[in-house]
């Protein structure tokens, strides 16, 4: 059967929703950083060790890598189709008045998130998997110290906060857009998804934004 852009959109929707689900788990794990330092160190390092050892988590992590790559690659394919479909440009263009900025600029927001992910993977994921980390009292790799020390730098905080804002706007449109692509059309449930999408996006964005600020202001004083 011939492939259509709608099939590509389905890939975008399914991978996007999986990444949305992952963000919840990721945020819940990170919230452990907000505990008092002595407890937080042991718990966070134990949790990181738990995730790296479990076979089920390993499978999910491969799905995660694949989702990020597929989401980005199909976004590029679809953007190319779009640019071709536009034809010539309007001389005087006020079309922006009838739709939200973030819904029109998912590609830019996604690019910011992707750049952030490269830095984020390099600084934590790569260091944890392939770097040499000191061990904590329980014998787990001390990722906690790395996190705390990296969030002492002001520019690093700004980088993270800006990326989370981009993520928030991306989610705000992405979550609802995925539901539409998957075929949700009943007005009642469309409204439920809209409201849930807002609540979800706000919680995720402010949840992630809180952690670097908390660490910066609590450990820098």
């Amino acid at each position: 059967m011939k492939q259509t852009t709608l099939m590509y959109k389905l890939v975008m929707a399914v991978t996007g929703l999986f990444l949305c689900f992952f963000l919840i788990i990721h945020l819940l794990g990170n919230l452990q950083l907000l505990s008092p330092p002595a407890i937080a160190r042991e718990q966070f390092n134990w949790y990181s060790h738990l995730l790296s050892g479990n076979i089920l988590i390993k499978i999910i992590s491969y799905v995660l890598y694949l989702s990020i790559i597929a989401h980005a690659v199909y976004a590029l394919i679809l953007t190319r189709v779009n640019i071709k479909a536009q034809g010539s440009q309007y001389v005087y263009d006020k079309r922006g008045q009838v739709s939200s900025w973030n819904s029109r600029n998912m590609g830019i927001l996604g690019t910011i998130i992707l750049i952030f992910l490269v830095i984020h993977f390099k600084d934590y994921w790569y260091v944890y998997k392939f770097g040499h980390l000191p061990l904590d009292a329980k014998g787990n790799k001390d990722l906690y110290s790395i996190v705390i020390s990296s969030f002492q730098q002001g520019w690093y905080i700004i980088l993270y906060e800006l990326s989370f804002i981009a993520l928030g706007f991306h989610l705000l449109h992405g979550f609802f857009s995925a539901s539409r692509t998957l075929g949700l059309y009943q007005p009642k449930y469309a409204k439920v998804v809209r409201v849930f999408g807002w609540a979800y996006s706000l919680l995720i964005t402010f949840g992630f934004m809180l952690i670097p600020l908390y660490i910066y202001f609590n450990f820098n004083s």
Partner: protein, 248 residues
């Protein structure tokens, strides 16, 4: 009223167009936008210049022939209206008004403000019909349909195919147009039988015509003269996904 117009002038499909300035005096605020262009065209004829070509037919908002970008918006600044339903009282004296054709790769400019919308026809031809002969109109109670269902189908069928949805879409997607036709037919008993085949053919044809995909900015619903709901796009996607899963 006196208006300063900047109008897109293009000789034919192949040539490169440009914005040309005109000053139009003596405009009545009661004129429709098309009547204002008629006035300008009459003066161009008197001066021996080529008139500005644009599509129009019924001039009462039900045929879908007229359509242009006015000040960067499809069918101008009002919502729920076609270009012919826009009146000059919506503009200020001495204002500069930009007039361009609807633009999309699938809508090539034929001349000036006139575009080729046969891409829409090809989408309908690919499956936007019921292939069984329905014969004479049957006794009205022999096919039971709930009132809400007929109303919903009619809301979708109200699409006049003007192309504003494509013109305003950042992706030049024809999703609203196509989904309106799919919704209209799938809601009715006669249309349900070929639903799966229809949606696959029509969605594929959208791509083949060179329209982009839908990224749910929902700009189309705002600019649609008939205020066709974007939820029809959701229903089209639902029908498409169902057809993909159930297809043998």
């Amino acid at each position: 009223m006196k208006l300063y117009l900047k109008v897109w002038r293009q000789e034919n499909r192949e040539s490169k167009g440009d914005m040309v300035s005109y000053v139009v005096e003596g405009i009545s605020e009661h004129m429709s936008f098309l009547e204002m262009l008629d006035l300008l065209n009459e003066r161009l004829i008197q001066k021996g210049e080529r008139v500005i070509e644009f599509d129009h037919d019924c001039r009462e908002g039900i045929c879908g022939a007229c359509g242009m970008m006015i000040n960067g918006r499809a069918h101008g600044p009002l919502s729920g209206t076609t270009t012919c339903q826009l009146h000059m009282r919506s503009f200020k004296d001495g204002e500069t008004v930009y007039i361009e054709p609807f633009r999309a790769a699938a809508f090539p400019v034929l001349r000036d403000l006139k575009i080729d919308r046969s891409g829409f026809d090809h989408i309908i031809q690919s499956g936007g019909y019921i292939s069984a002969s329905t014969g004479q109109a049957p006794e009205s109670n022999s096919i039971p349909i709930a009132h809400e269902t007929t109303e919903a189908a009619f809301d979708a069928a109200a699409c006049i195919g003007c192309g504003a949805c494509v013109a305003t879409c950042k992706n030049s997607s024809a999703a609203l147009f196509t989904s309106a036709k799919i919704s209209h037919l799938v809601l009715l008993p006669q249309g349900k039988l070929e639903a799966a085949d229809r949606v696959i053919k029509m969605v594929s044809q959208m791509d083949a015509e060179g329209f982009g995909h839908c990224s749910n900015t929902e700009a189309c619903e705002v600019e649609c003269p008939q205020e066709i709901s974007v939820l029809h796009i959701g229903r089209m996607n639902y029908q498409y996904n169902k057809a993909l899963i159930l297809k043998k």
